[in-house]
C-alpha cells in the first residue's frame, strides 16, 4: 500500500530511502522506479548509477506505522476485528461481515473505493487464512477471492515469496529449484522436515505453508482501544447546580481508576441540558491523581461558569490523560507526602486562577535580562538544568523599564543625578558599566546596546539603570536612560 497524498507524477522514478549498514538503502520505490529496475533493499548509490534522474526522499517509518495503526481503527467500519500486518498491510477478519456489504466481491470493491477516496492504492484479497490472504494480495490476481476448497490450487501457482519467508530462505528454495508454492507442496514432507526441523518460523517454509493452508492456527488478535473511564449521573428532573452530585461522581470515578490501577491528569465534566445543548468544563492536574476529595475540590470555584440553560438532567464526568499509578502506602508516622501536597496545591491554584496566573520562572541562556527568565506554566515539567547568571543581578525587575531624566558628568559615564517617578535621586556610588549588546539574530536592526549601572542613591536605594545606546552610534538621537530593577 502506498501513500499518495501529494504524490509526485507517476512517470518520475522516486524511491524512499532508509539508513542501511553502508549508507542509505531503498525502502520503497514507485512504479516508474520499479520499471527502471530498482529493487527495494539495494543501495541508493547503486540505483543512482542505474537510473541517473532518480529522486530520493527519506522514509518516515514510524509515521507510516502510526498511520497504519489509525487505519486499523478506521477499517472497523467493515468488520470489527482488525490488526496491522507488518509495515505494509492490514488483516481484516471479515467472517460474517461480507453479507452485510453484498457478498465478498462487492465488499472488496467497496473497500477499494473507500481507500482510494483516502488517497491510498490497495491490493485486496479474501482467503480463509492469514497466510493465504497475504500471498494472494501481493502475488495473486486483482481482488482475488479464494475459498477453502480451491485454496491449494490458487496458492500453488504463486511464487515462494508468498510464503512470508525471509530473503535467505527464499534464495535457498530457489536454488533447490522450488520456485512456486505448489512446488514446495509437492516435495515429500519428510525430506523438508529433515532440512528445516529446527528453523524458526520466518525461515521455515513448512510451518509457513501449514499456516497458509490452515493446518496451523494463526489467530487474529485485534487491538483494543483504551477503555474510557466515564461515570454518569442521570437525574430524575432537571436541576441547575451540579455541586451536590459531584462528590459521588468523583468517588465513583476514583473507584474505577483504582480498579484500573490508573490516575488521571485531566477531568472533563459534561452536562446535558434539557434543551438539547451540552456544556463542558475541564480541569487539569500537575500530577496523576485519583483522590476523590482533591478532584472534587478542583471544581469548587469553576461550577458557576457552567451555563445551565433551562436545567440539565444528565451529568457525565470523564477522566482523561490516564497513566499508571502505583498504590503507595502513606507514612506510618502520620507524616505527609511532600510532593503530593505540593502537586495538590498547584492544582488548586491553577484551577482557581488559570494556567497563566500560576507560573514557575526558569532561567535561560541569554544576557538580555528580560529574556534570561522565562515563565513556564506550573503544570508543565521544569527543565533539569538552568544556566547560572555570570554577574550580579537585581532581585527585582520592572515589567517595563521606566525612563528617567539623567544628569551626567561625561556622556559615556555614570549618571550623577536622575529623576524617577518625580523624585530626585542623587547618585553617591555606582558600579559599571556592564555592556549588553543586542542579540542580532533576534532583535530588529537598529536596536541599541545597553550599558547597565548599579547605582546607590543618597538614602541607600540600590537601583539598576541602563543607558540605551551611545552618542555616536548613529542609531537615533541622544541615548535614553531607564530604570530596570532594584537590588536588595
Amino acid at each position: 500500500m502506498e501513500r499518495q497524498g501529494n504524490a509526485p507524477p507517476d512517470d518520475i522514478p522516486l524511491v524512499l530511502a532508509r539508513d542501511g549498514q553502508h549508507g542509505p538503502v531503498v525502502h520503497a520505490a514507485n512504479r516508474a522506479a520499479r520499471l527502471a529496475g530498482i529493487m527495494a533493499g539495494s543501495r541508493v548509490v547503486d540505483m543512482r548509477a542505474l537510473c541517473p534522474d532518480l529522486q530520493v526522499a527519506y522514509a518516515d517509518q514510524a509515521g507510516d506505522r502510526a498511520a497504519l495503526d489509525r487505519l486499523v481503527l478506521w477499517a472497523r467500519r467493515w468488520c470489527p476485528w482488525n490488526v496491522r500486518d507488518g509495515d505494509d498491510g492490514l488483516i481484516l477478519d471479515t467472517t460474517g461481515s461480507d453479507h452485510l456489504l453484498g457478498g465478498e466481491a462487492a465488499m472488496l470493491v467497496e473497500m477499494e473505493t473507500q481507500l482510494s477516496l483516502l488517497g491510498l492504492t490497495s491490493r485486496l484479497a479474501v482467503a480463509p487464512t492469514w497466510g493465504a490472504a497475504w500471498a494472494l494480495a501481493r502475488h495473486g490476481p486483482v481482488r482475488a477471492i479464494c475459498g477453502a476448497e480451491d485454496m491449494v490450487v490458487k496458492l500453488g501457482a504463486l511464487p515462494v515469496t508468498g510464503l512470508r519467508l525471509d530473503p535467505a530462505t527464499v534464495l535457498l528454495l530457489r536454488r533447490l529449484g522450488l520456485k512456486t508454492i505448489g512446488a514446495v507442496m509437492d516435495v515429500p514432507r519428510l525430506s523438508l522436515t529433515r532440512r528445516f526441523a529446527k528453523a524458526a518460523l520466518p525461515t521455515n517454509p513448512l510451518l509457513r505453508l501449514d499456516q497458509a493452508l490452515g493446518k496451523l492456527a494463526e489467530p487474529v488478535s485485534s487491538v483494543d482501544p483504551a477503555p474510557r473511564l466515564i461515570v454518569q449521573s442521570r437525574l430524575a428532573e432537571p436541576i441547575f447546580d451540579p455541586t451536590p452530585y459531584l462528590p459521588a461522581l468523583c468517588a465513583d470515578l476514583c473507584d474505577q481508576l483504582q480498579q484500573a490501577g490508573q490516575g488521571c491528569r485531566r477531568l472533563h465534566l459534561t452536562i446535558y441540558r434539557t434543551d438539547g445543548d451540552i456544556s463542558h468544563l475541564s480541569v487539569a492536574m500537575s500530577a496523576l491523581s485519583r483522590d476523590p476529595v482533591h478532584l472534587n475540590g478542583l471544581f469548587r470555584d469553576k461550577l458557576d461558569r457552567i451555563n445551565p440553560g433551562y436545567g440539565f438532567d444528565l451529568i457525565a464526568l470523564e477522566a482523561a490523560d490516564l497513566g499508571a499509578v502505583k498504590t503507595v502506602q502513606s507514612n506510618l508516622d502520620g507524616g505527609s507526602d511532600d510532593d503530593l501536597e505540593l502537586a495538590h496545591l498547584l492544582d488548586r491554584l491553577a484551577a482557581r486562577f488559570g494556567d497563566r496566573a500560576v507560573t514557575r520562572p526558569v532561567l535561560r541562556a541569554s544576557h538580555i535580562p528580560e529574556r534570561a527568565e522565562m515563565r513556564l506554566p506550573v503544570l508543565a515539567d521544569a527543565p533539569a538544568l538552568m544556566p547560572v547568571p555570570a554577574s550580579e543581578r537585581p532581585i527585582r525587575l520592572l515589567d517595563q523599564p521606566e525612563e528617567v531624566r539623567v544628569l551626567y558628568a561625561v556622556p559615556e559615564g555614570p549618571p550623577a543625578q536622575f529623576v524617577w517617578r518625580r523624585q530626585t535621586h542623587r547618585v553617591t556610588r555606582y558600579a559599571g558599566p556592564e555592556r549588553i549588546a543586542p542579540e542580532w539574530w533576534r532583535d530588529r536592526p537598529g536596536t541599541r546596546l545597553r550599558d547597565y549601572f548599579k547605582v546607590e542613591d543618597q538614602i541607600g536605594r540600590r537601583l539598576w539603570l541602563y543607558r540605551e545606546g551611545l552618542h555616536s552610534d548613529g542609531r537615533g538621537g541622544d541615548p535614553r536612560w531607564f530604570v530596570h530593577g532594584m537590588f536588595a
Binding site: A357, V358, R360, L363, E373, R396, D399, R421, R429, K454
Partner: protein
C-alpha cells in the same frame, strides 16, 4: 556596639530578637522602589531547596516589579502567582500555608484593602504556625493598622558597606530594620547587613551608644501585639 549573628534555627525559641518560630511577619515598606524588605525576608527564609510560593497583586507588580530568579539565585525554586485583587492574594497565601512542603510563603499587597483585617492576619498567623512554614506579608504604601502578625517590621535601605576592592561602588547591602511590634521579642531598631556568601544576617544596634539587650521576650519585656 553590640553585634548579633542571626542564625537560622529550625525550631524552638531562639534567644535573638525577632527570630521567632516560623510565623507570620508583616513588613512595611516606605517606597515602592525599595527592595530591602524582600532581601531581608529572603535572607530569613530557612535554608534548603524547598520552593517558595510568591503571590503578588497587580498593583504591586506594576509598581515594584517582579522577583527575578537571576538575582535571587536559581537554587530556590519559585512558584509565582499573579492575581488582581488583595482577597485573592490572601486566599492563595492561606491555601499555600496548608502545604508543609513549601519553604516559605511571600505575599505582596498594595495599600490598605478592606479584606486585610485582623481576622485575615490571624488566620494567616495560625496557619503558618500550624504548618511550620514562614509567611511574610510585604505591604507597600500601607498604614500599620490592627493586625495579628507576630512580628511587624519596618524596613528600608541604608547606604551599603564599603566595597572591599572599589571605593566607588556599593558593597554588601545594609538595611535599616525596625521591629516595632513583636509577640516574642523586644522591639528595637537595627542596621542589618547581609553576608551573601555565608547567607547570614548581622544585626547591629542602630544607635551606637546603647547596648542591645538580648532578652528572650520573657515577662515584662513583651511588647503589645
Amino acid at each position: 556596639m553590640a553585634l548579633l549573628h542571626m542564625q537560622k534555627t529550625l525550631q524552638g525559641f531562639p534567644p535573638q530578637p525577632g527570630l521567632s518560630r516560623f510565623t507570620l511577619s508583616e513588613v512595611f515598606v516606605e517606597t515602592a522602589a525599595d527592595a530591602a524588605a524582600l532581601g531581608f525576608a529572603l535572607a530569613r527564609l530557612p535554608r534548603g531547596q524547598r520552593p517558595v510560593l510568591w503571590v503578588q497583586d497587580r498593583v504591586s507588580r506594576k509598581e515594584s516589579g517582579y522577583p527575578s530568579l537571576a538575582g535571587i539565585g536559581p537554587l530556590r525554586p519559585i512558584i509565582m502567582v499573579n492575581v488582581t485583587r488583595a482577597a485573592d492574594v490572601l486566599w492563595t497565601m492561606e491555601d499555600g500555608l496548608r502545604c508543609r512542603s513549601l519553604g516559605g510563603v511571600i505575599g505582596e499587597i498594595w495599600g490598605d484593602p478592606a479584606v486585610l483585617d485582623f481576622t485575615a492576619t490571624k488566620r494567616l498567623a495560625l496557619r503558618s504556625e500550624a504548618a511550620g512554614v514562614p509567611c511574610w506579608l510585604i505591604r507597600r504604601l500601607a498604614h500599620p493598622n490592627l493586625s495579628a502578625a507576630r512580628d511587624r517590621w519596618r524596613i528600608g535601605a541604608r547606604p551599603s558597606a564599603p566595597h572591599p576592592h572599589d571605593s566607588q561602588s556599593p558593597g554588601a547591602p545594609r538595611w535599616a530594620v525596625e521591629l516595632f511590634r513583636s509577640r516574642h521579642a523586644k522591639p528595637g531598631q537595627w542596621v542589618a547587613s547581609y553576608d551573601r556568601a555565608a547567607d547570614r544576617v548581622d544585626l547591629v544596634a542602630a544607635v551606637s551608644d546603647r547596648t542591645l539587650d538580648a532578652g528572650d521576650g520573657a515577662a515584662g519585656q513583651r511588647a503589645a501585639g
